[in-house]
Symmetry: C2
């Protein structure tokens, strides 16, 4: 991104909470916290200070299939930040006293999330649809699991997972590819990790053709979950009932992902979307109503989210089903399709200005073995979607078994 003063760099680990067993639940997220607690040459405070003094946005995130440590900083600070991130990932100390103290911090993080009705709803939906599969568990596990998680479990996880084939470094911003490469090589050498070849065997330098699909994901360890239909309701004494109604969605990198994206946007992707117009604008029943989609290696979830009073819940679910059904039954007009294509294209071009968004896209392509298409190629793919494709996609999803998760006051709502 020539001319930009900033760069976003991320070190990604192709491992998430999905890769845990019931016994090791929570260890991926716990490890993410521990990486900030000290390396062979830096203590926790100096790690925090090194990130903060850049004035950038630096943090880490654990998801169900991925972990990422990232920083957006000035290009002039990039050598220091690259060195710091590589040191954290490769030389973490996992000190036992720090581990015990961090247990309390993580329990507080989980408590905060338990008090957020939206977080609870999303976790409940996954718990409902993924049954006994590891994707059913919340990323951070439960407070009870964190209370008993052993130090050795996190050490084992670190040693077995934070290994070269699982790691991807992605960057976007004002620095050139060669400059970033030189910084990473120096950081690796400083961390005692040897030459570039050790770390990057099997991967290219931005050339996705050389990456076997899923090559970072550690092979066949992941078992495809079965999708469970049904209904769940966590009764909470709060004002709104949160609703998530959905079915199995598309996996990461599915051939029909551009059709899916157009359908999600048309049904529930903005203030002009069908759900927003029907539920909020025409009926005034909800403040927030939209589509939500999660993609994993081998599956995905599609959901319609809304928050409303318990008395209106059945009406909201009926309206949502009716819009979903109408999209499946009646081919949308070319005018409506053109509007959605314009929306998605504009959003992609605007996204080009964000080094964080571009770093993310690079990393996900690399990790999931997807082609690294240019934004213009992506826009072409969106433009090639037809109105019939969109209807067919809505119908394909509609024919699948459905799940309904509710969080909030008691209510009579039927599973469609």
């Amino acid at each position: 991104m020539p001319g930009l003063a900033s760069e976003t760099i991320g070190i990604w680990v192709a491992a998430g909470s999905r890769d845990e067993s019931a016994e090791t639940a929570g260890s991926t997220h716990f490890l993410e916290h521990m990486l900030f607690k000290g390396t062979g040459t830096r203590d926790a405070k100096s790690i925090a200070a090194a990130f903060d003094r850049t004035g950038g946005d630096s943090n880490a995130i654990t998801a169900k299939e991925l972990t990422c440590y990232y920083s957006r900083c000035l290009v002039t600070d990039l050598p220091d930040i690259t060195g710091l991130l590589v040191d954290m990932v490769s030389n973490s100390q996992l000190d036992v006293e720090e581990f015990e103290r961090e247990r309390g911090v993580i329990i507080e993080e989980l408590a905060m999330s338990a008090d957020d009705p939206g977080d609870v709803l999303f976790d409940d939906f996954d718990a409902l649809v993924f049954g006994q599969h590891s994707l059913a568990r919340p990323v951070g596990a439960t407070k009870d699991q964190i209370r008993v998680l052993g130090h050795h479990t996190v050490i084992d996880h670190y040693q077995s997972t934070y290994i070269p084939p699982r790691l991807v470094i992605a960057a976007a911003g004002g620095a050139t590819h060669e400059e970033v490469l030189a910084m990473v090589e120096e950081a690796l050498a400083e961390a005692g990790l040897g030459s570039r070849g050790d770390v990057w065997s099997g991967a290219g330098t931005g050339d996705a053709a050389s990456v076997a699909k899923g090559s970072h994901l550690g092979g066949a360890a992941r078992v495809r979950p079965e999708f469970h239909s049904g209904k769940s309701h966590t009764v909470k004494d709060i004002e709104q009932l949160g609703i998530m109604l959905g079915c199995e969605g598309l996996a990461e990198g599915h051939d029909d992902r551009f059709i899916y994206s157009v359908m999600l946007t048309m049904l529930g992707g903005g203030m002009s979307s069908r759900l927003f117009q029907s539920v909020r604008e025409e009926r005034g029943l909800a403040y927030a109503v939209n589509c939500v989609a999660s993609q994993f290696t081998d599956t995905g979830t599609f959901g319609i989210y809304a928050g409303c009073t318990a008395e209106n819940a059945q009406a909201v679910v009926d309206l949502a089903m009716s819009e979903w059904d109408r999209l499946a039954q009646e081919t949308p007009s070319q005018f409506e399709l053109d509007e959605i294509v314009s929306q998605l294209s504009g959003s992609m071009v605007l996204g080009l200005e964000s080094s964080a968004a571009r770093m993310n896209r690079l990393a996900r392509s690399e990790i999931f073995g997807l082609p690294l298409e240019s934004p213009m190629d992506l826009i072409e793919r969106v433009r090639s979607v037809t109105a019939e494709d969109v209807s067919e996609m809505a119908g394909r999803l509609l024919s699948r078994p459905k799940a309904l998760a509710l969080v909030g006051p008691a209510a009579e709502v039927e599973l469609p």
Copy 2:
């Protein structure tokens, strides 16, 4: 911002919930919603579609002293968006049927906020410290107030407040000043608002020297609130206790605002801050702990926020007080000060890449009559802060009467 493909434009109204009486409470926020519901030439759906088809981020926000309608879009879409925003602000229809339907949407928005413990805590703190003053009320008012708010009240508010002297248009991005000016003039002409002179009398074109301080704020209508000390506790059956401990802070544009900013960052502005290190890193008592500051025309609030279990609440408050006190008693080292200056400078330079952040800064300078300083000037102002200044600021705040708001389980916590 030469070379940028995007632009962020905002139309600001120098009016917020503070300017309401008890009888008109909620009308500013209600009006913000109504502006999306139709103009003389556009219905609600075509307004939504016009924003959505750009693929940009478009929305509005009502605060206690300001209202803003904004969009980040491609420069090529800017003429349409400018025309749309000007039309919404100047030709809103405030249709009574739309008004009644929107009442339900706003009540749902307030319900969602009531279920967010953080929102409740921030509202409670302001309610506690501002007593009977209009700043004490939540921006959107209460559900009961919205249930009875009259259509005529919102019409009156629109007619008396959305007038040229109260309006500011700010923009930042790839378009030149002259291009934006031409678009705004065309949009004004299209809206039947006559020439530039009608609207911009008294204001400059980015030349803040020509703006009288507070000239957009409608003169002497605002009465300075008294700060009330004390304690409040909203008991909620949730897992965490939310804590906000603070005192009166600095007003918008206060001469010591750069000292204040350094102090806020040193005490609770990042993962290396004193509060984060003491409460989270050394003791593991909270996941989130940081300083929070609000600035208004004639006053402000300073607060320390933390979320923790009820049993640890007194310990967290004690640690927070002890860090606050230590900063007031002991001059920080030049090293620590340099780190904070580096953090704030880096953050300012990184912020230059955001057209939204720059649009915001321009608008606030214009509305509050503050000098439009260049980023380099701002960095110089931060660099001129001394370690003694920081201690003095911490001490000045520490000597003020304190307020403590709690939201969550019952707990024994003393007001310091």
